[in-house]
């Protein structure tokens, strides 16, 4: 057991997979000599050499499209995109090829690859470095979209993503990269993709979140308990595609109330899908309308003002209280 940051835990998952399977490769800009701009690939070039930890020229579409070809020749590429905001320069490769090959060739050609990228706000970065585009990718059938919230689940989920036979978009909440440490077991562990977890059991209201806002949501849940006598249950989705509908149903049918929290814009966000599931499966259990506490339907403002945009504990507490007191 070691106390690791998320950066260290992600690094561990890649190093373990690369040791176990010579077909696992890491490629991207600055992943080798520089060890990644966030140091997530630290030590990989040294241990595995330049044919397995590959510094590439600066071209997102070639990193992803090249990864597709590498997958066809039996490799399992872990492609790093330096920031989510630049993933759109590879978007056509992901949409046109990564997600489609299994279906259109009925399994003859597949893309067992992981596309990692830091995402989300909160680190005072310049523009195009703080977006939360998970819903854009979650809408594309054929992809799995995974978002860890802490070091331990980051390691387990990245391992699961590398082992997964289908392409996985792996969003790393960069605000959580070094924000806290957790005990991470020495032995490799995986968590199932497509399954969320109950992070804090409760009875009065279900708070659904993921990524960096999971911690903010947990803080809000403590404040609700301490100051308002509201016992909130917190769900961490971990995967936004597939979504753990059963977990949401189970919790909401118990509490009768739900608030969905994410930093991405509200319109057609993951929250919209969560609310739709609740309406479809649990309408008659609801005691109050479901609320969404999210980013706004705008660009995320420049960093001097980003905290205004990102959901904070006070907005979550307020939303939960409105739901509980409805």
């Amino acid at each position: 057991m070691a106390r690791l940051t998320m950066v260290q835990a992600l690094n561990l998952a890649m190093a373990e997979a690369m040791r176990e399977n010579p077909n696992v490769l890491v490629l991207g800009q600055d992943v080798g000599q520089d060890e990644g701009v966030f140091r997530v690939t630290e030590g990989l070039l040294k241990e595995f050499g330049p044919d397995r930890c590959i510094d590439t020229p600066l071209a997102e579409a070639a990193i992803i499209g090249g990864g597709v070809g590498l997958a066809f020749t039996g490799f399992i590429p872990i492609c790093e995109l330096q920031f989510d905001g630049f993933s759109f320069q590879a978007f056509h490769q992901i949409e046109n090829h990564v997600r489609r090959f299994r279906n259109r060739t009925r399994g003859r050609y597949t893309c067992p690859m992981v596309i990692r990228m830091p995402y989300g706000g909160g680190i005072r970065a310049i523009e195009h470095h703080s977006e939360a585009p998970e819903a854009t990718y979650a809408h594309l059938a054929g992809l799995k979209v995974v978002i860890p919230s802490g070091p331990r689940n980051a390691r387990a989920l990245l391992r699961a993503a590398i082992l997964d036979p289908d392409p996985v978009i792996f969003f790393e909440p960069k605000a959580s990269y070094r924000a806290f440490r957790e005990d991470v077991p020495d032995e490799p562990e995986t968590m199932p993709i497509g399954r969320g977890v109950v992070t804090r059991p409760g009875t009065d209201v279900t708070l659904v979140s993921y990524g960096a806002t999971l911690r903010t949501t947990l803080e809000a849940a403590e404040e609700l308990a301490d100051e308002h006598n509201v016992d909130a249950e917190v769900l961490d989705l971990l995967s936004v595609a597939p979504l753990d509908g059963a977990l949401i149903t189970q919790s909401v049918q118990k509490t009768g109330r739900a608030v969905v929290i994410h930093e991405a814009p509200r319109h057609c966000g993951v929250g919209a899908e969560v609310v739709a599931r609740i309406v479809e499966d649990s309408l008659l259990y609801l005691e109050a309308p479901v609320k969404r506490i999210t980013g706004f339907d705008t660009l995320i403002p420049y960093f001097s003002n980003e905290l205004t945009y990102l959901p904070d504990s006070a907005r979550i507490v307020q939303g939960a209280l409105e739901t509980v007191r409805f």
Binding site: L25, D51, T56, P57, A59, A61, A62, I64, G65, G66, G67, V68, G69, L70, A71, F72, T73, G74, F75, H92, Q93, N96, H97, R102, N103, R104, T105, R106, G107, R108, Y109, T110, A141, G142, K144, D164, P165, D166, G194, P242, L243, G245, A246
Partner: protein, 372 residues
């Protein structure tokens, strides 16, 4: 010293072996045995007749939009001929002759254009990719395949195709750049057929040739007469041998012409002159190859008649086969992931129930809906 022309080490050549009237430059004539020449001609003829049949089927409403490769058969076929079976071939959708030569069943080709995923049924034993529709995006995975071959040190090479229009796309340039940086066993073939739907080659790029674009990426380019099966074979053999032995990528510009429409949804009379088409009809790769083979006494009237009959029979067989396909209407849900998600399982049940209900209620025959 302050100002002088830079010397770049890359070489750009132009290559042609067989003239339009079937005469050959003996010094460049490739060594191809007679049986192979016969097989190549048969593949070219099959590709041409297949196009003609598919256009007819499309007009009759028995096939969807079709993209013929008439006039471009030699440009892809020479490459396919020079590849080993375990090498990789990454096509667009105008490499019909190449894929037929590689062993793709004719009815599989028809199934694609008839709207069935089974048309992507790559035959066992060849490392081919299915058709790629989004322009030049296949250059990236073609490059990635070559990368994989290099990392595996398996001696395989990857031939990847795009068109002259595709050379304007970023993917083309990114892929060639990576191929140059990593010295990959990639043979990048541009079928310069002079027209990207309505945009002529002259409006696509200010470069004098497409072959010269290789210079920017640090490897050699060759412009070959793409209607000359012998010339394409020579260029392909050299590029493939170079790639296989660690010499890195080559850009082959095969200069050819789209004698027919872009697809059946297009009328080329709107944007190009008949006179231009006539000039290129005289350079038809099939007629040119035929004239060469006749001079070599490999193609007699009897052989041609037999070959046409064989092709006609194979086409009839393929049409019967593709029209009899009974596709599972729910298969598209099953193949989205290795294992179906709970959502897809629920949607499958929903769809099957709906299809079951529809089947029960469809007791009276109805007229097919006409569109447009």
């Amino acid at each position: 010293m302050p100002r002088e022309p830079l010397k770049v080490p890359q070489r750009i050549e132009s290559l042609s072996v067989l003239t339009a009237d079937g005469r050959v430059d003996k010094s460049l004539e490739p060594d191809i045995d007679d049986a192979d020449l016969g097989q190549l001609y048969k593949a070219m003829l099959m590709s041409r007749r297949l196009d003609e049949r598919c256009l007819m089927l499309q007009r009759q409403g028995r096939m969807g939009t079709y993209g013929p490769s008439k006039g471009q058969e030699a440009a892809s076929l020479g490459i396919a001929y020079a590849l080993a079976p375990h090498d990789w071939l990454v096509p667009t959708f105008r490499e019909t002759a190449a894929l037929l030569y590689r062993g793709w069943p004719v009815h599989t080709w028809m199934l694609y254009w008839a709207g069935h995923e089974a048309g992507n049924g790559v035959p066992d034993g060849v490392n081919d990719l299915p058709i790629c529709v989004p322009i030049a995006s296949q250059c990236q995975y073609g490059m990635g395949i070559a990368w994989g071959c290099k990392l595996r040190k398996d001696g395989h090479v990857c031939a990847t195709f795009c068109g002259d229009g595709g050379t304007s796309e970023g993917d083309f340039h990114e892929a060639l750049n990576f191929a140059g940086v990593y010295n990959l066993p990639l043979v990048m073939v541009v079928q310069n057929n002079h027209w990207a739907i309505s945009i002529p080659r002259s409006s696509q790029t200010a470069s004098q040739t497409i072959a010269q674009k290789a210079i920017a990426y640090g490897f050699d380019g060759v412009q070959v007469d793409g209607n000359d099966i012998l010339g394409v074979t020579v260029a392909a053999r050299e590029a493939i041998e170079k790639a296989r032995t660690g010499g890195g990528p080559t850009l082959i510009e095969a200069v050819t012409y789209r004698l027919s429409m872009h697809t059946t949804a297009d009328d080329p009379k709107k944007y190009r002159k008949e006179e231009e088409v006539k000039v290129w009809e005289e350079r038809d790769p099939l007629l040119r190859f035929r004239s060469y083979l006749r001079k070599k006494k490999l193609l007699t009237a009897k052989v041609e008649k037999d070959m046409e009959e064989e092709v006609t029979a194979k086409l009839a067989e393929a049409v019967a086969k593709y029209e009899q396909i009974e596709a599972d209407p729910t298969a598209f849900l099953r193949h989205m992931y290795a294992d179906m998600t709970p959502e897809l399982q629920a949607q499958m049940a929903e769809l099957k129930a709906h299809l079951g209900n529809t089947a029960e209620s469809a007791s009276a025959p109805t007229e097919p809906t006409q569109v447009g």
